[in-house]
Symmetry: C2
């Protein structure tokens, strides 16, 4: 189901119900770009530590906008032995609510935009009808403001501001020439409000009314006490509704979080980082803090890219990109899962791929998960090909997020320390920027097969095939002038020192 | 006429002809945002120097994208005493041509995007069908590459790369898993090319052909010398065309520049800065260099906002925003100009405003210019209400760009030094961030009317109504602890010193 600002409120209860009854949820996000700094290859060095990778993604990816969010709720129907799925494809955009609301800036990367455009992505739906949102801090601020206003009103404080909603619809762009005029008007309004409140503290109700043609006037009505209270209650309700509207799409994420359900994604680290960054709070500096925060928001995550590149799947699945994975899992020894679209929801057809629509990607991610989970059941005796998300068999894959292109650390362990592979066979080499891969091959030609992981244009990691060659390489490099070699351990110590003693400002 | 990537090439000759025959051109740009730092009020301080304003706009506005460009060519028809207008509304987007081309990142400001969305702006047209472009440096690089390839070919250099276009259409996103495979294929291709060239230096023609289904194969044909030359010529022509396609929208700006025609805009400083930045080169640090560069690209500029806020218009035009100006100039003592849309061009209707479409804004900017120019003629004796752009009467308004919200420097003088108004009555005040405007009014209550120009939340300029009060204010502030006052001259000297002796890194 496609959800924009226009039908968001109507979809909310159906969305809440879908989450509530689901056995697991699948998600996917589309972003306005990937890296605002180095290209993706340089962003994802094969020998990054988890801390480094997290720091790079945080630094170079978070200023893009997550503008489409796919959510599919899969519910198992045991009588029919099949899943019933409800898919939502949300368009998201930080439309400023009023002059006081934050004016979000986000980056677009032309290659990403062009790629989405070539896939038929509808940018007008995002920018014209995207659902707004507030993060936790913004929500708290608006809540406070509303609260304050309520108290003022309760205390009869005669403050003009007390009578205008925090979401007043005054246009955001006031031409310079009108500003003086407007502030005069605003001052006059305030005076009228104050005087009326002071002269008639009880017997009247004062309200700003807006006509269809955007004209605004002050409506003064004589009311008795009951009527006044009724109107004030109405007003509070309206304010509450406006607050909910402003929180907007964040309510979807809150609902997912509150449900505590298993959340499945494909190569989902960036999706998770963006989701938390955009709808909760800026990401913490420290990786451990990020893990703790993430686990408090999404207590059970599963990454199908990690699952498919781990045994017993690894040998049977040569290519783990989402599209290839989905195709592979249709054939033996796997089985296409038995999934039916819930009534009233539009059906996705996997034969006619709609890849890179977040809702569709979330859908086939869910399918992949079910196929792989069921396959795990084939090892039971007797075999059971209906393995549900809460099964013990799934547990080894939970809360491990795929780390792209790191050669020796397959995943980020969300609930404990990360793997610390030996890197004794790795050298850190610096050289003139004119060097090419071939120069490195030549330099290390005596040491057999090497593997090069470029860091930037004057440095790279070189992995030797045998650790005992490291010392030889170090010795021969001692008198070299054009390049320099460090062991991986020396390199790490150097980096750590840089961190401990930051260079003077 | 709406111009996108789809019809750009077909429009080029009509656009060139329109520029060639025009008496003047009107332009307008739409951007993805205005300021990525301070809000617009803080960006445009009322007491900025021209240098400061330029530096701020350069720093905080140039990372947005100019994605719609309006160009209207007005040609005077003396027999009918009327203008014939041809309007173009270009959609512009830096679609990457191939893997080697720059992957532009640009910022979007949600308030600007939301504003354009509310005006019915079509973002899909920009992102899916926007015309690409190269700036001068990028164009030069591609030209060099093409040249190199040509020379290699002429010398019969047997290099595989020599046979693939610099705009090869290999998809930019190669999944990690396929990279090895691809580089193998590429190596094989290279081998085949080299071997063929070496074995049959003359008698064959080798070419990569792409099928409709994106399959690629190598086509080897036996050809005689004439045929080979013909094919090579064809190839060169194709390369030239691809180069032109890549330069894309920049060709429009080059054509405007080459024509040397008067270019009219409304509040056009940002338009000019963006145009040069995006289609020529990064903006220079120094304001004087910017002026020189601008004059070399657009030798005659006229800003209708500056014109309308200068005598003899100033007193008659209370509001100089484009929409208000256009309305005002329809009434006495002004006259709506006699303008007709050229055949084959869609007509804009000023009764049904399409404001904030760049083409429409350029159109009414042109109308405003004609009305105001003609009004100047009413002071001649005998009056002449057909004043053309090259008239002496227009000259005082040429090459002066409106400076928004600077109280005492109305314009940037593009062809000489800027005005240096006395600011002896101005104080620079610093204070705790809790202060409000009212605190400043209170502080200076003894000095009559003051004017406050906020710099940031701990500093502001305060203009006193009389210069002789400055010394008194300075004296009374001597022992103050919470705030500090400097004269404007002291403040400037301090800033200059900061510039001369940059703080140690
Ligand atoms: N000096 C030099 N630097 C390179 C070379 N290849 C890659 N690099 C650097 O390493 C970074 C990552 O390169 P790579 O992983 O190959 O990804 P790519 O940038 O997509 O080709 C690049 O951005 C360069 O800074 C090379 O041949 N010579
Ligand atoms: N401390 C303080 N700073 C202010 C106040 N008003 C404005 N500023 C600062 O001055 C900047 C420009 O303010 P202004 O020109 O009024 O534009 P605005 O930001 O659109 O209201 C703001 O971003 C603030 O940093 C005030 O009352 N107190």
């Amino acid at each position: 189901m496609e959800v924009t600002r226009k039908n968001f409120k109507d979809c909310l209860s159906s969305m809440n119900c879908a989450i509530e009854e689901a056995d697991f949820l699948a998600i996917d996000g589309e972003f306005s770009g990937i890296s605002d700094g180095p290209n993706v290859s340089a962003l994802t060095n094969g020998l990054d530590t988890p801390e480094e990778r997290y720091a790079k993604l945080k630094k170079h990816s978070m200023d893009f906008l997550l503008f489409q969010f796919g959510l599919c709720a899969f519910k198992y129907d045991p009588t029919a032995s099949k899943y019933i799925v409800k898919c939502f494809n949300f368009y998201v955009f930080p439309k400023p609510f009023n002059r006081a609301s934050p004016d979000i800036k986000f980056i677009c990367q032309s290659s990403s935009i062009d790629f989405l455009a070539s896939q038929g992505f509808d940018f007008n739906k995002v920018f014209c009808h995207g659902i707004p949102y507030l993060n936790q801090e913004e929500e708290a601020r608006v809540r406070e403001l509303t609260e304050e206003r309520r108290n003022q009103q309760a205390n009869g404080a005669a403050n003009g501001a007390a009578y205008s909603s925090p979401f007043c619809t005054v246009p955001a762009n006031v031409p310079e020439e009108h500003k003086d005029f407007l502030s005069q008007i605003m001052f006059q309004r305030k005076l009228i409000y104050q005087t009326l409140n002071w002269k008639f503290p009880k017997g009247i109700h004062v309200e700003t009314v807006e006509t269809k043609s955007k004209g605004r006037f002050i409506q003064v009505s004589k009311v008795d006490n009951d009527e006044r209270k009724r109107r004030e209650r109405q007003k509070l309700e309206k304010e509450q509704e406006e607050l909910n509207d402003a929180v907007g799409f964040s309510r979807v994420i809150h609902a997912i979080s509150k449900s505590g359900k298993l959340v499945v994604g494909h190569n989902m680290l960036l999706d998770v980082m963006h989701t938390i960054h955009q709808f909760y709070c800026p990401l913490p500096q420290d990786l451990q803090d990020f893990k703790d925060l993430t686990m408090s928001v999404f207590p059970r995550l599963l990454d199908t890219k990690l699952m498919s590149s781990t045994q017993p799947f690894k040998d049977k699945i040569p290519i783990t990109s989402l599209a290839e994975l989905e195709k592979r899992l249709k054939g033996a020894p796997f089985q296409s899962p038995n999934v039916e679209t819930a009534e009233g929801f539009p059906r996705y057809d996997t034969a006619q791929e709609q890849l890179h629509e977040a809702g569709y990607d979330a859908y086939i991610t869910g399918l992949c998960f079910i196929s792989m989970a069921n396959y795990l059941g084939s090892f039971l005796s007797p075999p059971n090909t209906n393995i549900l998300p809460h099964s013990k068999l799934v547990e080894p894959f939970v809360n491990k997020l795929y780390l792209m292109r790191i050669t020796d650390i397959p995943y980020l362990n969300m609930t404990g320390p990360d793997l610390q592979p030996q890197r004794d066979h790795v050298l850190y080499v610096t050289f003139p920027k004119e060097w090419k891969t071939s120069d490195l091959y030549q330099l290390f030609s005596a040491f057999g097969n090497i593997q090069v992981s470029w860091i930037d244009n004057t440095s790279a990691f070189v992995s030797l095939s045998q650790t005992d060659q490291v010392q030889i390489a170090m010795n021969t490099s001692r008198y070299a002038e054009s390049y320099r070699i460090q062991t991986y351990a020396e390199y790490r110590r150097g980096r750590q020192q840089e961190k401990d003693i930051p260079s003077q400002p």
